[in-house]
């Protein structure tokens, strides 16, 4: 039962002082089957005048606050302690063939699981892209969906290169496909576009990876910032998370913060300022193994 201590710091620096700031942040890790958030603390400087919490439409924790002290620098420190276990994967052969998932999902939607439907259509950051559909069409549609997920990941590993310089937050999907380069967010969006083109419910997941891997294992890509991966809904099984950047199913080291249709649904920090001119944003993430407070040491 690994327990992780996470420190996520976001700093805004303004050219000229800002008079006030309104912020909405999604930084508290989710509570779900394979993980529970044991502690969470938001440390904000300058101090906010109000801080309230809501759960958003996708069940993520949303904190909303305002800062009314004039400031040129503004910092949000999020500290969490999370207990995360290795999610159980179904046997690939027990998952339905990809070609059947769309019809099975239709049935699930009709029998009350209507929320699945939002993950099967284009969303703001993941428009319909023909080239993504072509990519998906090349794979064997008779394969079990779990096998298919791995094959699509391997195709990404072969054809796409991780390159933080190639894209930014606003690079459209079609451009990522043309460049064949990008970062975790791009790969997650692209993977989702491929899955949705076949009618699969596919979600975007934001979260963290362990900064230093256990001895003998390679360090993951995306470990010093926020990471992103995807989740595919398999009829009869449920959501299964896959990391297209590292070409693996999400494991005990993948700590889930928020889920949504795409990045726009889970953006960790969103802010509006009164004054302040141009600003720069910097962030740092550290994820370390911690003692489980529930099991006293010695």
């Amino acid at each position: 039962m690994p327990v992780y201590r996470i420190h996520h710091v976001t700093t805004y620096r303004h050219g000229v002082p800002a008079n006030a700031a309104w912020q909405s942040v999604r930084l508290r890790p989710r509570d779900e089957d394979s993980q529970s958030c044991l502690e969470f603390d938001l440390d904000i400087l300058p101090r906010p005048t109000d801080l309230t919490q809501r759960t958003d439409y996708h069940g993520n924790h949303l904190h909303v606050f305002t800062v009314r002290t004039a400031h040129q620098e503004f910092t949000v420190n999020a500290h969490s302690l999370v207990n995360r276990t290795e999610p159980l994967l179904p046997m690939p052969a027990l998952t339905p063939p990809v070609a059947e998932v769309s019809d099975l999902s239709d049935e699930a939607v009709l029998s009350g699981e209507f929320l699945l439907e939002q993950f099967r259509h284009p969303s703001a950051a993941i428009p319909r892209v023909e080239a993504a559909a072509d990519l998906a069409a090349d794979l064997d549609s008779t394969a079990p969906v779990l096998t298919w997920m791995q094959s699509l990941g391997e195709l990404f590993a072969r054809d796409f290169r991780f390159d933080p310089a190639a894209t930014d937050i606003s690079t459209p999907l079609a451009e990522v496909l043309r460049l064949r380069r990008g970062v975790c967010q791009d790969f997650a969006h692209l993977y989702i576009a491929c899955a949705r083109s076949l009618g699969l419910p596919a979600a975007y997941v934001s979260g963290y990876l362990l900064t230093q891997p256990p001895p003998g294992q390679p360090r993951f890509i995306g470990a010093d910032a926020m990471h992103a991966w995807v989740s595919i809904h398999i009829p009869g099984t449920g959501w299964v998370d896959y990391d297209p950047t590292n070409h693996c199913f999400a494991g005990a080291g993948h700590i889930v913060v928020a889920r949504g249709r795409d990045y726009a649904d889970v953006s960790p920090v969103r802010g509006v300022f009164n004054g302040g001119g141009q600003h720069t944003l910097s962030l740092g993430v550290t994820v370390e193994p911690a003692e489980d407070p529930a099991t006293p040491s010695q």
Binding site: N19, W22, R54, R68, A70, N274
Partner: protein, 825 residues
């Protein structure tokens, strides 16, 4: 048995014939004129067409005079056009009205429940009564607003529907409006104009009055927020660039509530506040005319510059009521219409009373096949409207190739398309200015309902529109349609008092000066400054020619040279070097007309026009007309005389017609600060000279007084002798000269004393100190010393100019530029 009445004839319907296959409002199928139209024709007198011609002309004049306008989007250069109105009303009998109002009440209730569920428990989605994709893949379903449907308040405060008559005489709904139904203000404005220009017809017809609907509308807004004892209502508009801005101004006036933009509001602790010159005042009800998506850059469209950060959160906390609540567009999807009958049965427990045009949604397999097989007979519409949505197309109007392309387009992404039965719109008589006769025009009417006392009430009237080309296709005011008043004829209602013409409801709270929105105070302050600045500049320009022609110009050309340089420096232009006086004057005139030059008179007039537009709501209607004439006068050529006349008139209106409230004080402060600045700049420009040189010539002194509009008053007070000390005294130190410096500074002191100081007591104190220093320096200056030591005079004037600029900056800092750190009043 009574003998059959003689068949009705009237020259009104000469040559009028109904269109094949369509229902006509005036003519029955057998060609006879329907009774309501017979009565209407009779009420127009012996020559009804002449009456209508006169009425049309009067209406056009009234629209121009009242500056009723509609901003048509033409990309960057959007420009307001006069409101298109046909004076011939649509006549609706009480049977038709009962059918419509009953059916629409049912529909408003169904949509309200639908939205409360969609933004609440989502039972209808869970039960499959609303197809999952229409909620879950709907770009207009705003997830951030999820939960807002749980409020006890109605989600839909105002509902509107576009209705049309089908060939068999039944009514059909073409479109439902839930997001933020527009046009209510235009409907009211149409009524007021048509009643004015067709007084006799209006008097004789039993026309249902609108006043009750509007007074209920106001009361229901008050009651939307139960937590606050005296609710503060504001109308949130996207601003002057919006197509319906005129209507926003009109409605805000009518409702007696401030017209605000996103920047006027601020949120904290889940509450919404209006930034006023007296601090933050809590807002309890927002009449929303800003599209939901743009309402909150924090939780909705992050690129919106029009919204209020934190508004969604405030709505979620229940401390502010929004009419209509954000997110209504989600159920405006065309596709929804095919599910409405079953939803209505589920929600209301009864059948839908008025049908929508039959609709098939491509997201369902059978419906998609039907659409593809029947393209020729259907109207193909996008499932979700929006800038990226495919265009609406009439299958019947496409050739085989185009139809095949459309079929391929639909097959590729069927759920993005709907097929709708083409309804052949009924026609109603409309005035045709070209032939001066009536012509049958296919029309659509928008009917409004609002929530009051637990149920929806329809406004007995509406906004009818027809397309000037006589075609059915898209009857939108953006694409060249003409509007009509709509008369609901119901015998029992005709004796009620007339509609309110202007805002009559003012709470004490709103009258209280401190509640003046900061941005409005800012605009009024700059309005005062620009009125004065453009006035000074144009007067100066107009005086140039007579001065050049004066024979003294030949004797003392340096004075004119300095005058021209002064005019140039006021326009931020360096002095002209070389050339004759005439050439220099020409140069100054060219600069004045140059819109590309940032300080030119033309540019200043442009800014004035923009500020007038932004402060419209607080100016008397006279000022709107003047603003329009001023705009026209400065567009063609810079005619200083015409512009002066308009500016003088505006001065008069702002001084004598405007309420002398806090907003007006800011306007006056702007005017006085500008005039004081101008006086000092003029003195500095004309009376600066080397210390050793002889004193100014008499011509120079006269010119100085003349340019300051003080020559006449000076002569009267000083018996026509020109001494430098007495001229300076008259221009600077005498309280009696209304153009002089002292007069301005005294007025500034008086106005400042009336402004609220609870907002930032220390800054207000600092401001008073600055003004006191200015007043003392004006009072204590010794004119004989100034006249004999020019360098001392220049130093003093520079100091005074700096103090004036301080006053202006401190005012802006205290009252206009809120830091959001201030306390809640």
């Amino acid at each position: 048995m009574t003998p059959p009445a003689a068949p009705f004839t009237s020259s009104l319907f000469k040559g009028y014939a109904s269109l094949a296959g369509r229902y006509d409002e005036a003519l029955a199928p057998n060609g006879s004129v329907r009774p309501a139209w017979q009565a209407f024709a009779r009420s127009l007198g012996a020559d009804p067409l002449a009456t209508l011609r006169t009425a049309s002309e009067s209406a056009r004049r009234a629209i121009v005079e009242q500056d009723v306008s509609l901003n048509i989007y033409t990309g960057e250069n959007s420009d307001a056009t006069a409101w298109p109105l046909d004076v011939v009303p649509l006549l609706l009998g009480s049977d038709d009205w009962n059918t419509l109002s009953t059916g629409l009440r049912q529909r408003a209730g169904v949509f309200n429940t639908l939205l409360q569920d969609l933004y609440g428990p989502q039972k209808l989605l869970r039960q499959g009564l609303l197809p999952a994709a229409l909620g879950m893949a709907n770009p207009h379903f705003l997830r951030a607003c999820s939960g807002l449907g749980k409020s006890r308040q109605p989600f839909v405060h105002t509902y509107a529907a576009d209705v049309a008559r089908s060939p068999d005489g039944r009514w059909w709904i073409l479109q439902d409006r839930l997001e933020s139904p527009s046009g209510l203000g235009y409907a009211l404005q149409n009524r007021i104009i048509v009643r004015q220009v067709l007084p006799n017809a209006f008097k004789h017809a039993p026309v249902s009055r609108l006043y009750r609907f509007f007074s209920d509308f106001r009361v229901s807004l008050d009651r939307l927020q139960s937590r606050t004892e005296s609710p503060r209502i504001v109308l949130l508009s996207p601003g002057p660039a919006n197509e319906s801005y005129y209507e926003h101004v009109y409605l805000a006036r009518h409702l007696g509530c401030p017209l605000v933009e996103g920047g006027d509001l601020s949120t904290r602790d889940g509450r919404v506040f209006l930034r006023t010159v007296g601090g933050l005042r809590e807002v309890s009800v927002i009449v929303r005319r800003l599209d939901s998506e743009f309402c909150d850059p924090l939780e909705l469209d992050e690129h919106s510059l029009l919204g209020v950060p934190g508004l969604v959160h405030a709505a979620q906390s229940g401390r502010v009521a929004i009419a209509n609540q954000m997110g209504g567009r989600a159920v405006e999807s065309t596709a929804l219409l095919s599910f409405l009958p079953s939803l209505c049965r589920q929600i209301a427990g009864e059948d839908l009373l008025i049908p929508s045009a039959a609709t098939w949604w491509g997201g369902q397999r059978a419906a998609r096949d039907y659409i593809l097989a029947n393209l020729h007979g259907l109207v193909i519409k996008p499932t979700y409207a929006g800038p990226a949505a495919p265009a609406t197309r009439y299958g019947a109007l496409l050739d085989a190739k185009e139809r095949a392309a459309l079929a391929a387009e639909i097959s590729a992404n069927p759920s993005a398309y709907c097929g709708q039965e083409r309804v052949l719109l009924g026609t109603t008589p409309a005035w045709d200015p070209a032939s001066s006769t009536l012509r049958p025009m296919p029309f659509v009417t928008r009917i409004y309902l609002s929530w009051h006392d637990g149920e929806y009430h329809a406004m007995p009237g509406g906004l009818s529109r027809f397309n000037t080309s006589g075609e059915d296709a898209i009857v939108s005011l953006q694409s060249g349609s003409v509007s009509k008043d709509t008369w609901v004829l119901s015998p029992e209602q005709s004796d009620e008092p007339p509609v309110m013409e202007a805002a009559t409801i003012h709470t004490n709270e709103q009258r209280h000066g401190a509640a003046t929105p900061s941005r409005l105070a800012d605009n009024l302050f700059w309005l005062g400054r620009y009125l004065e600045r453009t006035g000074q500049l144009t007067r100066l320009l107009a005086k140039l020619d007579p001065l050049l022609r004066d024979e003294i110009a030949v004797l003392d050309p340096a004075v004119l040279n300095d005058t021209i340089s002064f005019l140039l420096s006021l326009q931020d232009s360096p002095a002209a070097t070389g050339g004759t006086l005439d050439q220099k004057a020409d140069y100054a005139r060219r600069i004045a007309c140059n819109l590309g030059h940032p300080g030119s008179i033309a540019t200043n007039l442009n800014r004035l026009a923009r500020i007038l537009e932004a402060s419209k709501l607080r100016l008397p209607p006279d000022a709107w007309r003047l603003a329009r004439e001023l705009r026209a006068a400065s567009k063609i050529t810079l005619n200083p005389i015409a512009i002066q006349a308009h500016l003088a008139h505006l001065d008069g209106v702002t001084a004598e017609v405007m309420v002398h409230d806090t907003g007006w004080r800011f306007l006056e402060l702007g005017r006085r600060i500008e005039r004081a600045t101008h006086t000092l700049q003029l003195m500095r420009a004309l009376l600066d000279r080397p210390a050793a040189s002889p004193g100014p010539t008499e011509f120079r002194l006269q010119t100085c007084l003349h340019l300051a509009d003080s020559l006449f008053t000076y002569r009267a007070s000083f018996n026509g002798t020109f001494h430098p000390a007495s001229v300076m005294s008259w221009m600077l130190a005498e309280s009696e000269n209304p153009r002089g410096l002292r007069y301005q500074v005294e007025r500034i002191t008086e106005h400042l004393a009336t402004l609220p100081d609870e907002l930032a007591p220390r800054s207000v104190e600092a401001l008073s100190t600055t003004v006191f220093r200015l007043l003392s320096s004006v009072r204590l200056a010794d004119m004989d010393t100034l006249a004999s030591t020019p360098e001392q005079a220049i130093e003093l004037w520079n100091d005074q100019l700096a103090l004036l600029s301080d006053v202006s900056n401190q005012l802006a800092h205290i009252y206009f530029a809120h830091t959001d750190g201030e306390t809640v009043a």
